[in-house]
């Protein structure tokens, strides 16, 4: 399984780096434009704005993960991977872990940047804690995993009647609803992170379960 993930990283590593470069580049460009043409008030807000660079890196990681999952689908990679002499559970795990690893790498870089910003700017800070970075990363990962789960539900819907696919559809809809509620509910930061992490774990298990029970692995 790790061999499959490692090979994937070897192939898509450049995509992640380019995405980060674009994300950070666009972010810095906006800051630079505001610094040059912005009002006095805008300029005063620049340090606060610059502190949001970790989010730009996380969004760039998410974009890269979406590009990867789209490319994998377009190039019918599931066919190639399923034909490899690996247990199907490992192939399924590699598929769901791969975007998570992208987000994990993005999270590492974001924490480093965040730490650097804290050191340079010092508190007070709009991003009070590292935990907030974790929360954003997990939330973005949720939407990637939700897209993968959605594809599996569509695949299931192709071979069973509407009624038989109802429970997986309902589960996915519920997971999305809970993800929305978690964002607005009044709970502590740690509880919020734990909830989104649990939601991700549940969704990944769900996608894994549907993939290993697939009856069709062609495109």
């Amino acid at each position: 399984m790790w061999r499959l993930v490692r090979e994937g990283l070897r192939f898509y590593g450049r995509t992640l780096l380019v995405s980060w470069a674009f994300g950070v580049g666009i972010f810095l460009l906006v800051v630079a434009i505001l610094a040059v043409v912005g009002s006095v008030r805008d300029r005063a807000e620049l340090p606060r704005m610059a502190a949001q660079m970790p989010v730009a890196i996380l969004i760039a990681s998410m974009v890269a993960a979406f590009i990867v999952t789209g490319t994998e689908r377009a190039e019918a990679r599931v066919r190639l991977h399923v034909m490899l002499p690996l247990p199907i559970g490992q192939v399924a795990l590699a598929r769901i872990l791969f975007p998570a690893i992208f987000m994990l790498l993005g999270l590492g870089v974001s924490h480093a940047v965040f730490g650097a910003l804290l050191a340079v700017q010092g508190p007070p800070h709009p991003w009070h804690r590292h935990l907030t970075v974790d929360y954003v990363a997990l939330l973005l990962l949720f939407w990637i995993e939700a897209a993968l789960a959605f594809r599996e539900v569509i695949e299931l819907g192709r071979r069973v009647r509407w009624g038989a696919a109802f429970a997986p559809r309902a589960f996915l809809a519920l997971a999305v609803a809970v993800a929305v509620v978690v964002q607005v509910v009044q709970v502590g930061a740690l509880a919020r992170v734990a909830m989104v992490a649990a939601l991700n774990a549940g969704l990944m298990t769900f996608t894994h379960h549907l993939f290993v029970r697939r009856a069709q692995f062609t495109k």
């Binding site: 061999r3 090979e7 192939f11 190039e75 034909m83 002499p85 247990p87 692995f217 062609t218």
Partner: protein, 298 residues
């Protein structure tokens, strides 16, 4: 030579909306080439997908080299190579990188074999050619090299020469011919191009609307199938072994699946101006596939 069948399909049924494949019972012995012939939508690709584990049948069992096709226990996958219309290669990688990727997963992978096959097919291994820049012919060659790199006992070919020019097609068929030399390999070959099959196949299976119409050794077909014309005054005549029958006034024309039996019957009936002609595999295939389900009983 191993006596374990390359694959066994027992009562396989695969259903899609508006289409059912099977029940299908097929066995392929090592060292043989089974040509799989049928019109578009007859279930050829679905059959190959069932054998390769890319489609899971609703009923029946599939075995490859005596091992049940089960994705949880994947040892059987090392025994098959698949060449299909889609392949799943990493388009951003070079030919060499794609082959190296595969080599990391197959214990039986042989770089020597790959180099020999690539040289034989004229596939640019050394050049840093990106898969996205390969022509259709080169992509087909890569698919064949990739499928044979780990030395599988069973090669599943789904229209491998579709859309290729005659030169590339001949190269591919030459390589497949060489693969069969050791008698250990078995090839399941699905195609529309019957000239390919007439060169390679030992046996032919004709499929229509998900069902096998006929399975026969190729030589048997070319030896026994004849187009026969004769004159007979009788209007209603049931010709033995006739797959196709046409009558224009006193002139009768039949396609016979057993020329000897038909000719013996015609002699008994006192038919005149009896003429027979050999049929090509193409003509036989058209007669069988047009004849449909009544081919076998006659």
């Amino acid at each position: 030579m191993s006596s374990v069948p390359a694959f066994t399909l027992s009562g396989v049924v695969k259903r899609y909306r508006g289409f059912t494949l099977g029940p299908l019972d097929l066995v392929l012995q090592p060292g043989t080439v089974l040509g799989f012939v049928g019109p578009n939508g007859s279930g050829k690709t679905t059959t190959i997908n069932c054998i390769a584990g890319l489609a899971i049948p609703e009923e029946g069992t599939v075995e490859v080299s005596g091992q049940r096709v089960d994705h949880r226990v994947p040892a059987w996958k090392a025994d098959i190579g698949v060449v299909g219309e889609t392949h799943g290669f990493y388009r951003g990688w070079t030919v060499e990188e794609n082959l190296r990727f595969l080599s990391r997963f197959y214990p039986g992978w042989s770089d020597q074999r790959v180099t020999r096959l690539a040289d034989r097919l004229g596939l640019p291994l050394a050049k840093k050619t990106c898969v996205c820049n390969l022509s259709k012919g080169q992509l087909a060659k890569l698919a064949i090299v990739a499928a044979l790199g780990h030395g599988p006992r069973l090669l599943l070919l789904d229209e491998p020469t579709g859309g290729l020019d005659p030169v590339v097609r001949a190269e591919v068929l030459d390589v497949l011919w060489e693969v069969l030399e050791d008698g250990e390999h078995a090839i399941f070959y699905s195609t529309h191009v019957l000239s390919d099959i007439s060169r390679l196949a030992d046996e032919l299976v004709f499929l229509r609307e998900g069902r096998v119409l006929l399975r026969s050794p190729k030589d048997h077909l070319t030896e026994h199938w004849r187009r026969i014309s004769f004159r007979l005054a009788e209007e209603d005549v049931t010709v033995v072994a006739a797959v196709e029958y046409r009558r224009v006034r006193a002139e009768h024309q039949v396609v016979s699946a057993d020329a000897e039996a038909t000719l013996a019957q015609l002699r008994e009936l006192g038919a005149e101006s009896v003429e027979q002609s050999r049929m090509t595999i193409d003509e036989i295939a058209v007669a069988i596939l047009k004849g449909g389900s009544h081919v076998a009983p006659r």
